[in-house]
């Protein structure tokens, strides 16, 4: 009986290990396909016509999937492609190229 219990425990542990092992690639895959939205608060963005530059400048970046401008809040919302990233320094450069001054950057996982 003791031998049977030992064998059962070993089998359970083996199965559990295999389940965990099988789940690991999924977890890794989920991490690499997660999307991030970068919110850049800027100064000077008061004109729709001029803010078109934001869409053009950010839209040229490989990592960027979508760009949304919120004139009321003075914010640029940049949705990155799955697994892609963009540095704060790059965001600041792109904001500058668009004609504005960066105030803050926030990141949110989607």
């Amino acid at each position: 009986m003791k031998l049977m219990l030992t064998a059962l425990a070993a089998t359970t542990l083996t199965l559990a290990a295999s389940v965990v092992s099988a789940q690991q690639p999924v977890a890794v895959e989920a991490a690499t396909t997660a999307q991030t939205m970068v919110t850049a608060k800027v100064n000077g963005m008061v004109c729709d016509f001029c803010a078109r530059a934001v869409t053009k400048v950010f839209g040229k970046e490989d990592a960027v999937e979508n760009v949304h401008v919120d004139l009321d809040k003075g914010e640029i919302h940049v949705t990155l492609k799955s697994g892609a990233d963009i540095t704060d320094e790059r965001v600041e450069t792109l904001v500058k190229k668009s004609g504005y001054d960066l105030v803050t950057i926030e990141r949110e996982s989607l």
Binding site: V42, G44, D72, Y100
Partner: protein
């Protein structure tokens, strides 16, 4: 090309070659192209430029001045000298210069080297707008200056992507013109990358038509 065709072509070019007001934002984003045309009765102008950086643009400028009977074509350079960004406003100071050739039309005079320099400034919030532009030119056979200023108000605050409307008043001063100072009420619309201005100058009974496209 007969006179009517020539006039039509010049009007078309003119609407793009606008003067001070429509050129208030003469610099675009890096890699951006802008085409603008102005026609205010006194002159028609066309300006197409490319911005290699967010502070510079260079392009073609052509103006046919109906009031003083001359035509200028040249290369224009625009420089964003200074920009002030605040949470609720933006202000800009620009320098402009052009070199090219000019000729008085209609009297067979020789083409002469010509050019102009100018400054432009603007300030705007989502509700209010003000702008100024002055330029001095030397056409060889004629020298002069002109300046204009604008104030505007947005009757409603639109979101990004909406049709935006501005009600504006422009005062223009051309000392050598038959009517040196004129006042022009106008309405400005912009949607996406297109801007259109329509106005009327009572003193000279002339229409204003300006447009800008960026791409």
């Amino acid at each position: 090309m007969n006179r009517i065709q020539c006039t039509g072509l010049c009007l078309a070019l003119g609407t793009a070659l606008s003067s001070a007001p429509a050129e208030a934002r003469p610099v675009s984003y890096p890699g951006g192209w802008t085409v603008m045309q102005t026609n205010n009765g006194d002159f028609s102008s066309f300006h197409a430029h490319y911005s290699p950086t967010f502070q510079d643009s260079i392009g073609l400028y052509s103006e046919r001045n109906w009031g003083e009977d001359w035509h200028f074509t040249g290369v224009q350079y625009n420089r964003l000298v200074k920009r002030w960004n605040t949470p609720g406003s933006q202000a800009n100071l620009y320098f402009k210069a052009a070199v090219g050739q000019a000729d008085p039309f209609g009297d067979g005079a020789d083409v002469e080297a010509a050019g102009f320099v100018g400054i432009g400034a603007d300030w705007e919030t989502r509700r209010w707008f003000a702008a100024y532009e002055g330029r001095a030119y030397d056409l060889g056979f004629d020298q002069g200056a002109r300046q204009s200023a604008r104030v505007g108000v947005a009757p409603y605050i639109g979101d990004y992507g909406d049709l935006h409307t501005w009600l504006m008043l422009e005062i223009e001063n051309q000392p050598e013109a038959e009517t040196p100072t004129t006042l022009t009420p106008l309405v400005r619309f912009f949607y996406d990358v297109q801007l259109l201005e329509i106005g009327y100058t009572p003193e000279t009974d002339e229409l204003m038509l300006n447009w800008i496209v960026r791409f």
